[in-house]
């Protein structure tokens, strides 16, 4: 029978004071003065005490003090014959029973309690009162305090304080439970009784536009040439469409380039042109000024007419003028009246005129209606940016593989949906806002670089 030490203590370092006390070499005592604190510290030997404390701490960290443990936990009786081979089955079971190394590493053995923050001394008045209150409340109402919940690791739902929130409960939304619901009048009355106010009328919206802001179908099915294995003709048609849109794109690009290009060199301004522009109106200024001066003098030479006494209108003259004016007015009024009276005879002509006018109106309306129907499937202009038609998805003839296994899809469904929403006037077209820099970057040439120049 052999007694073997348990693994934990065998791992302890050999320098430990209590378990393996090292023999101390006795020499001649050296006498030193210990008259002040620093001298005390310097010359007093506390190694054995420190070793002892270290060892004790280590023991605490790794499974507790050995001295406190029962003998059974430190030793065991080895009944196994070392030479005899273990039965394979038993070995396997042992392997199963043995905890993994990784678990052993993770498993905390320390008996040292973690350092906690400052807590008010137990049983102090404040804590006791709080606890008492919480207990009372729990007995009365069943409310479990937050501290207790934390201790028990319960959340407010588990503690029964709150109803568990249903996860997306669906029910018969369109069921006919209209009978139980009060009518609008009843609701109004109830509201008035409770609040003493009349209910605000919620505006009713016509839902027609909301349902169909565009005549386009919600899901536009791709051209038959967009099949993963299309017929030759359908595929060619789709390719033709793609070619057309590509052509248009190239044309637009070319146009833009043409418009922003510099003019040919022969049309550029020469030095002479520039000089001429700079001195425009300077060289022949003097002559013009002279001419102008003459003109001005001429104007000034005409004397202003003076008002003489005999030019003043007499009362009689004024009255006569007035009478004449009135007479003329009367005359024109009579004339228009006469014309109006005679228009009865012009009925036919008037009718013709009206008809012509109406016809013109109708035509205009028709034209407008036509334009409207033509543009009905086109997206409306809903924001600053114009809607841009996405490029149609297609596969080139050599990309058609003919089997589902080797086939690669084209385009993105998300983009297709997004563009469809824009095309159907549900979303306005927008451009992602670029984040603007708050401050302009400023470049400064440092002095040391300034001094270096290639020319010198």
């Amino acid at each position: 029978m052999a007694a073997t030490k348990s693994s934990e203590s065998s791992e302890a370092p050999q320098t430990s004071g209590s378990l393996f006390p090292q023999p101390k070499v006795r020499g001649k005592k050296k006498r030193v003065s210990k008259k002040n604190k620093s001298a005390w510290r310097k010359h007093s030997d506390i190694k054995d005490i420190e070793d002892f404390l270290d060892d004790q701490r280590l023991q605490l960290r790794t499974g507790g003090l050995v001295a406190d443990k029962a003998d059974d936990s430190l030793f065991y009786v080895d009944k196994q014959n070392d030479n005899e081979d273990e039965a394979p089955v038993a070995k396997k079971r042992k392997k199963e029973l043995k905890p993994l190394k990784i678990d052993q590493i993770i498993a905390g053995e320390t008996t040292v309690k973690p350092v906690t923050g400052h807590a008010p001394p137990m049983g102090s008045g404040k804590v006791r009162r709080k606890e008492m209150k919480a207990k009372e409340l729990e007995q009365k109402t069943g409310y479990i305090s937050k501290e207790k919940r934390k201790k028990l690791k319960l959340n407010s739902v588990q503690a029964g304080l709150k109803k568990p929130q249903a996860v997306r409960e669906y029910y018969d939304l369109w069921g006919n439970d209209a009978k139980d619901k009060p009518t609008e009048e009843e609701e109004d009355e109830h509201y008035a009784q409770v609040t003493g106010k009349t209910r605000v009328k919620v505006p009713v919206r016509t839902q027609t536009y909301a349902k169909n802001p565009s005549i386009l179908p919600k899901v536009e099915v791709i051209h038959p040439g967009g099949s993963y294995n299309p017929t030759f003709e359908d595929h060619q048609q789709l390719l033709q469409q793609a070619v057309q849109s590509e052509r248009k794109k190239v044309k637009d690009e070319k146009k833009l380039e043409r418009q922003t290009r510099l003019p040919p060199k022969r049309e550029w301004a020469t030095r002479r042109d520039k000089m001429k522009e700079l001195t425009e109106g300077l060289l022949d200024e003097e002559d013009e000024e002279e001419e102008e001066g003459e003109e001005l003098e001429g104007e000034q030479s005409i004397p202003k007419a003076t008002i003489r006494a005999e030019d003043k209108k007499s009362r009689q003259k004024r009255r006569k003028e007035k009478e004449q004016r009135e007479q003329e007015q009367q005359k024109t009024a009579d004339k228009t009246k006469k014309i109006k009276e005679h228009e009865v005879n012009r009925l036919k002509a008037i009718k013709k005129e009206i008809n012509a006018l109406e016809k013109k109106k109708e035509e205009r309306q028709k034209k407008r209606e036509e334009i409207r129907t033509q543009n009905a499937d086109k997206p409306k202009r809903l924001s600053r940016h114009k809607y841009e038609e996405p490029f149609p998805e297609f596969k080139l003839s050599e990309e058609l593989v003919g089997t589902l296994r080797e086939f690669k899809p084209e385009g993105s469904v998300l983009k297709d949906r997004f563009k469809s929403l824009q095309r159907r006037n549900i979303l306005e077209t927008r451009v992602k806002a670029k984040r603007q820099k708050k401050f302009k970057k400023k470049y400064v040439e440092k002095k040391q670089y300034k001094e270096i120049s290639i020319n010198v």
């Binding site: 939304l173 909301a210 469904v413 998300l414 997004f418």
Partner: protein
């Protein structure tokens, strides 16, 4: 004293329209909140007839809204929730900065949430209205179900989209509502008919997320749409399921047996197993009331009328179309995109399975002798069973679009496939019709030279034989 002059811009277009900035000031919310509100409520910008008049004399380009729309928005209770959320964020930031962890916790517990139920009811007063507007909804929900979780796309969104899309597909399978399938270069177009409403949507092929392809898309705006559509599709799914008498949330038939199978062959976490089984589309949904397997046929009073006769014939055709793949047992090889195939086969009454190592929910193995068709997309199979046809996936989709079973030889592995025609094209008189389409329409009318028809007959006979064989085997097993 003259008459009071009528002032400019105090009536007409100038007051009927309001610019976006003025609308924001009017509602006292931020621009992003305004955008979200407009999307949720279905308020779209307008183009006034005379922009200059609407803009009070200025010709600067602006976004206009109808003043009435904005007034209508101002009564929306969700605006208050937006404001509450703003306050909540402020408080949370402050608590974080002060490291008040308890307060952070309580704040997060009481995070303001808003519901969209009333808006959906308001925008779609009847269920049919909602069905009519389902195209957009399905497109976006199916699309977002394929996305990864990023800064702009919350993971919760993706999970819920996936969930709802799977539910919807299961409904289509149960209702046999699928009408058309088109494999395009963009994605797969599906068309279904529910309660007389035709709905088309586009599903992307399952490839990785390509951020570059959708660089100039405003994700925030799209996320608002998805937020609304998630709620809408939830309610629509509920109504659809209950209208068929199915459980909602969906339950599978023989769930216990499936569970047992999965335990033997664990594929994912137990918590995810139900969702995965549902997503496999291979099992049927359980109904609330136990139904008779035979359909109750209501006998109508017969009237000798050409119109009713036509309607009757049409109905019979429809029924036959829904049973297109009845009796077909399809095995999907691993190189074939599983979901569209299984969805199509199951929507027309067929059975589908795949290798157990590919995904959950496989119902039979490759070695099963009763398999009638094996879908494969490589030039040659390693090991071939004589009892089944090996065909390329396009056959299934072409059959659906032709509304009949097409001869299989054109679709054998390694054979150059006939073109996949778009079922969405309607040819008018005088239009150019591709020869393939002409041949197909002749075949549909039964005018073809006969080889196709005889092929079909052969196929159906063989199927019957195989079924009989299977039955015999079972009997033998019982005896043993």
């Amino acid at each position: 004293m003259g008459r009071l002059m009528k002032k400019k811009y105090e009536s007409g277009a100038a007051t009927a329209y309001i610019t976006r900035n003025r609308a924001i000031n009017y509602l006292q919310i931020s621009l992003p909140d305004f955008r979200r509100l407009c999307i949720l409520k279905g308020v779209y910008p307008r183009e006034p007839k005379n922009k200059k008049k609407a803009n009070k004399g200025s010709t600067a380009p602006r976004t206009f809204y109808l003043m009435k729309d904005i007034q209508y928005l101002s009564h929306e209770p969700i605006i208050n929730k937006f404001r509450e959320f703003k306050v909540f964020v402020k408080k949370l930031k402050k608590a974080f900065a002060k490291a008040e962890h308890g307060r952070v916790e309580t704040l997060q517990e009481n995070k303001p949430v808003y519901k969209l139920d009333h808006i959906i009811k308001e925008r779609y007063p009847t269920f049919v209205d909602a069905l009519r507007d389902l195209d957009d909804c399905l497109c976006l929900v199916f699309l977002f179900a394929t996305f990864p979780q990023t800064k702009n796309i919350p993971g919760d969104f993706v999970r819920r989209c996936r969930h709802l899309s799977v539910e919807f597909m299961n409904f289509v399978v149960a209702a046999k509502a699928l009408k058309k399938v088109f494999l395009s270069i963009k994605g797969i177009y599906y068309q279904v008919e529910m309660q007389g409403q035709v709905v088309t949507w586009l599903v992307p092929y399952s490839f990785g997320f390509n951020a570059k392809a959708c660089a100039d898309v405003d994700f925030r705006v799209m996320a608002h749409f998805v937020e609304f559509y998630i709620t809408m599709l939830g309610f629509v799914n509920f109504k659809l399921y209950t209208s068929l008498g199915l459980h909602y949330p969906p339950k599978l038939m023989f769930e216990a047996k499936l569970k047992d199978d999965d335990e033997k062959n664990p594929y994912c976490l137990e918590s995810e197993a139900t969702g995965e089984r549902l997503a496999a589309l291979s099992a049927s949904l359980a109904s609330v009331v136990t139904q008779n397997t035979e359909e109750d046929e209501v006998e109508l009073d017969e009237f000798e009328d050409s119109r009713t006769l036509e309607a009757k014939q049409e109905e019979e055709k429809q029924k036959a179309f829904q049973k297109l793949f009845n009796g077909l047992k399809v095995f999907v090889s691993r190189e074939v995109p599983r979901e569209p195939i299984v969805f199509t086969v199951r929507s027309f009454g067929g059975e589908a399975s795949w290798d157990r190592s590919v995904a959950m929910g496989a119902t039979f193995d490759e070695s099963d002798e009763t398999i009638t068709h094996q879908i494969m997309d490589r030039p040659k199979a390693d090991r071939q069973y004589l009892s089944r046809y090996y065909i390329q996936p396009q056959w299934l989709f072409d059959c659906v679009n032709a509304k009949m079973l097409l001869p299989v030889e054109d679709y054998f592995p390694g054979v150059v496939l006939p073109p996949h025609l778009s079922p969405f094209v309607e040819y008018k008189e005088g239009d150019y019709v591709p020869p393939e389409k002409e041949a197909l329409s002749r075949r549909q009318q039964g005018l073809d030279t006969g080889d196709a028809v005889s092929e079909e007959a052969d196929v159906s006979e063989e199927e019957e034989e195989e079924e009989e064989e299977g039955k015999e085997e079972e009997e033998i097993d019982d005896e043993g």
